[in-house]
Symmetry: C2
């Protein structure tokens, strides 16, 4: 029956992380692999209170079918928060609730990509975006990521020589590198994008988790007609609920996204949407986020220090101001897949660089997550990796 | 920016039901339009108890990322239930939890359809399946549905003359018609499918809701290599949680589905999966379903009686033995869209037939839902429709 399967699925990479997570399931393995929030950061009691309150208050309503766009008060809350924090003028009708921001990527693929269309993405880029786009068989155009952000000469050239459907970016504490685009880099990208007929996707799951430096304004935010902003509760409240959102002021795009969303799963879990809105109305989210940031700052410092102390000097490493990841580069010619094999024998794992490129094997790079281990475990894990470098 | 949108999304119909549901939001409109369960059937207190119990027992685990395949004990429960009720030999590894069974349809589209591929579907067929497949631009082959099930001559001819990727069926209390395929019809379809290199999708969200007659065995169930069975908690526990599943013993298909699922939303809400498994372990689901069936039997009887009393004799109507819908056919030449306009002025709505065909306009047919209104309201609604026929 082999010939019954679609071209798209045959071209879609299975996730390396899935395989790694199986290794990690052994309790004595130290994992820097996944992108898991520290479970001690979940507001368990508050979510329990909210759950009981919404069932008592709304009864059967929280168990019935909901609207495709999402629970209105939650969409309004999200719009208001962007206004308060970033001065953006989104309204509830500009917001579509998605089943995690992973679904937002799938919906964008559905709505924008014909087979062979050009899609621009950071190099290295988020593997989940590469995976979800791959199903729609685009031609990926990789734009090199520097310490400052995107290489804008490359971006300009890619946009001039191709009909690019959208540029996918993670401007804050990028996945996998932890890099944040500078103010100047954002301004330059904004200028370039405004001149082209292409969408700009700003995926921002980590933006709230800045533990150093100052917030920078979005590249497109709400003010380019092609701006698409993605957000999520996964890293600041709970990932298990699978709730994210797409914001755009582009009406035509939003109408198509709503149709695609309906075809995909009718709507996201409405019970979870009620709980989260209730949680947000009865608790101070910023105060909660302050606690998470303190936690991750401590954990990232432990990782930075251990790296400085134990890794050979030829291994370079990014130094993120927030988010969940660091990115290490081995000396040229070394493969992080080989390192991975040796490290996993020492019971420590990470994600080798390969799945973060659309077209590269045996990359010398690797992603290290610091959010799901305590400082002592982090130090021990880095020591173990260093011992096989 | 019009030219940035994909061919697939431009060919995907927006749902007529969405538009109708907006009309229905007015409180004094009687709606036979949606496919909403009666909210009095939701086990609210039991779900509340389960929620509190799982938070107390598992703490942060129910809020963390989960595995793509779904919560293992829930998958095992589903396999065991198929064994107990139908003698099927599914195991947990044959089951993938999806974000409602709507997502199962989207994943099948992703994994099986290349642009232009033939997909066979009942005529009339479930509009959500038409919608989700449309994105992948298949060539639909409609197979006429009779009172007995599929027209097997048409099926045979379609399979012989086309490379059909899959046949989509709803053999129990079909949506939109309420028809159940007969034992003989199932046997004949099984025989035909076994001879062809094509998948068979049996979508069964209503199978548990039989209020008359006897359960019939599945067409493919677990015993054809191309069998795919879809299920859901939406109609027997709660639709708001968006939990359904795909069962198949075809390993290659399952591997591809898991990759597609991961690209689509990583995994379905894990908190909801824990709640449902806890609910199922602490309550008697069959006893709960018995109550729903009694309720829907009463409501369907009220609709049948009202139709017999008030509709003109030239209007024919199906007489379902379970599920949620009846299907009426107006005399030739009459359009149910016209009837819809007149009926909505009398504050009663239904779904006109058009969206249930891949290629027909001004159909003389309409779908009537009886599960979300009490008997008196049903009688009043049917009277109002009759008054404008």
């Amino acid at each position: 029956m082999e010939q019954l399967f679609s071209e798209g699925i045959k071209k879609t990479p299975s996730s390396f992380i899935r395989e790694i997570l199986k290794t990690t399931a052994q309790e004595d393995v130290i994992s820097f692999a996944g992108g898991l929030p520290n479970p001690i950061s979940f507001p368990i009691n508050e979510l329990k209170e909210s759950t009981n309150r919404i069932i008592t208050t709304f009864e059967s309503k929280v168990f019935q079918y909901g609207t495709t766009e999402g629970y209105e008060p939650l969409r309004e809350y999200i719009a208001d928060r962007y206004k308060a924090k970033h001065g953006l003028k989104f309204e509830k009708d500009d917001i579509l609730i998605t089943t995690g921001s992973q679904q937002a990527l799938d919906l964008l693929g559905k709505v924008l990509i014909n087979k062979g269309d050009a899609v621009a993405i950071e190099k290295p880029g988020y593997l989940g975006a590469i995976q979800s786009c791959s199903l729609y068989q685009p031609s990926f155009k990789e734009i090199t990521l520097t310490q400052e952000g995107l290489n804008t000469d490359e971006l300009e050239s890619v946009l001039q020589n191709n009909k690019v459907k959208f540029l996918y970016t993670v401007p804050n504490f990028q996945n996998p590198t932890g890099i944040t685009y500078s103010r100047e880099n954002r301004a330059k990208i904004r200028e370039i994008i405004a001149d082209h007929d292409t969408f700009l996707v700003e995926d921002d799951p980590y933006g709230d988790l800045r533990f150093e430096g100052e917030d920078l304004s979005y590249i497109g935010g709400d003010f380019l007609p092609q701006s698409i902003l993605l957000g999520s509760i996964s890293k600041i409240i709970t990932p298990g609920f699978r709730l994210g959102w797409i914001c755009t002021k582009n009406r035509e795009l939003m109408n198509y996204l709503v149709i695609a969303k309906q075809a995909a799963d009718l709507h996201s879990n409405i019970f979870a949407q009620y709980i989260i809105y209730d949680y947000l109305s009865h608790n101070d989210l910023n105060q909660h986020i302050t606690k998470i940031k303190a936690l991750y700052k401590e954990q990232s410092s432990a990782m930075k220090e251990a790296i400085q102390q134990y890794f050979p000097k030829e291994v370079s490493c990014t130094s993120p101001q927030g988010g969940m990841f660091m990115w290490a580069t081995l000396p040229k010619g070394q493969s992080s897949l080989d390192l991975f094999q040796r490290a996993s024998q020492k019971k420590v794992v990470f994600v080798p660089g390969d799945p973060f490129y659309t077209n590269q094997t045996n990359a010398p790079t690797l992603r290290l997550n610091y959010t799901n281990s305590n400082p002592d475990t982090i130090t021990e894990g880095i020591k173990r990796i260093a011992s096989v470098m």
